[in-house]
Amino acid sequence: MVSQKITVTNEQGMHMRPASLFCQTVTPFASDVKVVFNGTTYDAKSVMMLMSACIKCGSEIEIVCDGPDEADALKKAIELVESGLGD
């Protein structure tokens, strides 16, 4: 299992479009991908779950990947958040 903390900096936070982009990016990986925010763990392969976390700009999240391609999945997910989630 690998994980990394990162701050969400895109202005809208995890709204519909950023959340779907995040979800689309991590879904192809065989590993489980979760987002931990405010002590709760959310399935990052579900847009609904990601949105239900109500992650806003400036929130710190932890991305946790577990599975055969966990390192790649984490790298891709971090890159996406760093680039501003397509916003």
Binding site: C23, V47, M49, G58
Partner: protein, 568 residues
């Protein structure tokens, strides 16, 4: 007369068509053949997707990609493992498809509607829309085709779902009234995009009217009349003509230069709060950014934004504006704007206390980060630095020294920036106004902030209803102050702008033209209105009016005389 939320401007007059909500109740039965039920369910999901993508496509073509996003979101949501996936699991456990759809959707509706975030609350209405569409498909209920209503129809509904709004055509729908929804709801966004007048959140309206009733929808004021008297109707027929005429007049100013009636050119900029707003400023035809409030970066995040975070935001605005000026006001906190993590002390008189440039110069390390970020962004466009709440020349000097120090540092390590980056003052205190001649010798530009200037000049807290009557930019003292500031700027040969609400005030504009203001900075949506008003005044006419106004002694006389001279 009924009152609601003014959601889309304009006047609509026509004949009502009430959109009836269908009875979506169903019998919860235990399913034996779950395989067959799952087939029925997935057929409904496929039909939903086909319908929704067809509507999204239609909206994209007819209105625009941004408006189509709502429906594309529905496609993403229904396909989500926690939606269709959970529903399938419930059917496996013996629930009927309708019950599964309802239970899963209701769970999410409950979750999203409780969130403390306007945009997230919108998701609840998305899911509710999905639920209704899915239940109709499963129960075999057909809706009326809104795209085929008679021309001149006023639609009345409890709520307009995105799937309904997608069928609305401004050729036959003259107005919209709903019982729920606010300015940011889908119905409002679509109504504005289609330029259909809309009043939302009118309580019980669907039960108070019937088909073929006559209605007036005043989407500018948020007022609805049902079966109005003849005199009200004729009044609104005239109002509607006026509105249409004015709108087409304003459209004529799109893409035009901002010129006075005698062809004198002035700059018309926009006030923005986030880098995203820069796009809006361009869409609204703004010629630059006259005020970029940098506070959002500090208020929306839970920590002091890093130099990099700030740089990216300023750069984005500079790049978006493509070489047009972007005036960034450095952190203006204190007063009524508190940022919890900065741990500022509670003050007896916050507006007279440790705020804006005073706070920044007292926290030079943090201020240095902001100035560095702005100066780095100047490599990507025409960026300028504006200092808020200046009261003495030492403050301007101190900031300029910091800027010089940063430039030296950047030169040493080869960081790109605009060597001619300008540093200007916000003139918004009586002190700055009185020494405008001194400041003008050392500042590269001025920008008058009328909100604070009025409050400080009149010594009035506009939030206090007992004294709010004194809060007026048309007080002789405030007008004299404005005239003096512009004069000092002109004599020193520096540009003087205005970024307060007054810059877009039709009554104020002729005075500003006469005083010699060179840059008007307004809310993006007011660009065309301001350009239109500026075009109606020549310098000579404005001077004649200003001479008359400046000889008057009370605010009431001034406002009355300006209203009389108004060319609206």
């Amino acid at each position: 007369m009924f009152k609601g939320i003014a959601a889309s401007r304009g006047i609509g007059i026509g004949s009502i068509c009430v959109i009836v909500e269908h009875d979506l109740s169903f019998e919860k039965k235990k399913i034996e053949d779950t395989a067959a039920e799952k087939v029925r369910f997935s057929e409904a999901v496929e039909a939903f997707k086909a319908e929704t993508s067809a509507m999204a496509e239609d909206i994209r073509k007819r209105i625009g990609p941004k408006e189509a996003e709502i429906l594309e979101g529905h496609l993403v949501m229904i396909s989500d493992p926690s939606m269709a996936g959970e529903m399938t699991k419930m059917i496996d456990a013996g629930q009927c498809a309708e019950a599964a759809v309802e239970a899963v959707c209701d769970m999410f509706i409950g979750m999203f509607s409780q969130m403390d975030d306007e945009m997230m609350k919108q998701r609840a209405s998305d899911i509710s829309d999905i639920k209704v569409s899915m239940l109709k498909l499963l129960l075999g209920i057909k809706d009326i085709d809104i795209s085929k209503v008679e021309p001149g129809t006023i639609l009345v509904a409890r709520d307009l779902t995105p799937s309904m709004t997608s069928q609305i055509n401004n050729k036959n729908v003259a107005g919209i009234i709903t019982e729920v929804g606010g300015k940011t709801s889908h119905s409002a966004i679509l109504a504005r995009a289609l330029e259909i007048p809309a009043v939302l959140s009118v309580p019980d309206i669907t039960t108070l009217v019937k088909d073929k009733d006559t209605a007036i929808v005043d989407g500018t004021e948020g007022i609805v009349y049902i079966n109005p008297e003849g005199d009200i109707l004729s009044k609104y027929l005239i109002k509607r003509e006026d509105f249409i005429r004015k709108q087409s007049e304003l459209k004529g100013f799109l893409g035009k230069e901002t010129l006075t009636a005698d062809g004198e050119s002035v700059e018309l900029f926009c006030n923005i709060g986030t880098p995203k707003d820069a796009k809006k400023a361009l869409e609204c035809d703004g010629e630059g950014i006259g005020l970029f409030r940098s506070e959002f970066l500090f208020m929306d995040s839970g920590h002091l934004p890093t130099e990099e975070e700030q740089f990216n935001a300023y750069k984005e605005a500079a790049v978006t504006m493509g070489g047009k000026p972007v005036i960034i006001r450095t952190l203006d906190i204190g007063g009524d704007k508190d940022i919890p993590y900065l741990g500022m002390k509670k003050e007896e008189n916050p507006f007279l206390g440790y705020r804006a440039v005073r706070y920044c110069l007292g926290n030079k390390e943090a201020y240095m980060l902001q100035l560095r970020a702005i100066i780095r962004a100047s490599a990507f466009g025409k960026v300028k630095i504006m200092i808020p709440l200046v009261t003495c020349v030492e403050e301007l000097r101190a900031v300029k020294e910091m800027v010089a120090e940063i430039k030296k540092d950047f030169d040493a390590n080869g960081t790109d920036y605009d060597k001619d980056i300008e540093v200007g003052c916000m003139i918004e205190t009586p002190a700055a106004s009185l020494i405008a001649d001194i400041l003008a010798k050392e500042a590269d530009f001025f920008s008058i902030g009328t909100n604070d200037l009025t409050q400080y000049t009149m010594s009035v807290d506009r939030g206090n209803s007992d004294v709010a009557y004194l809060y007026s930019t048309f007080q002789p003292s405030v007008l004299r102050s404005i005239r003096h500031i512009i004069e000092c700027g002109r004599e020193a040969g520096i540009p003087v702008g205005m970024c307060g609400e007054a810059a877009a005030d039709p009554l104020m504009i002729p005075l500003l033209i006469s005083f010699g203001l060179t840059e008007f900075s307004v809310n993006p949506v007011l660009v065309l209105t301001a350009r239109c008003i500026i075009s109606k005044w020549s310098k000579k006419e404005a001077d004649e009016l200003a001479d008359k106004i400046m000889a008057l002694t009370t605010e009431a006389e001034i406002v009355a005389a300006l209203k009389e001279a108004s060319k609206e």
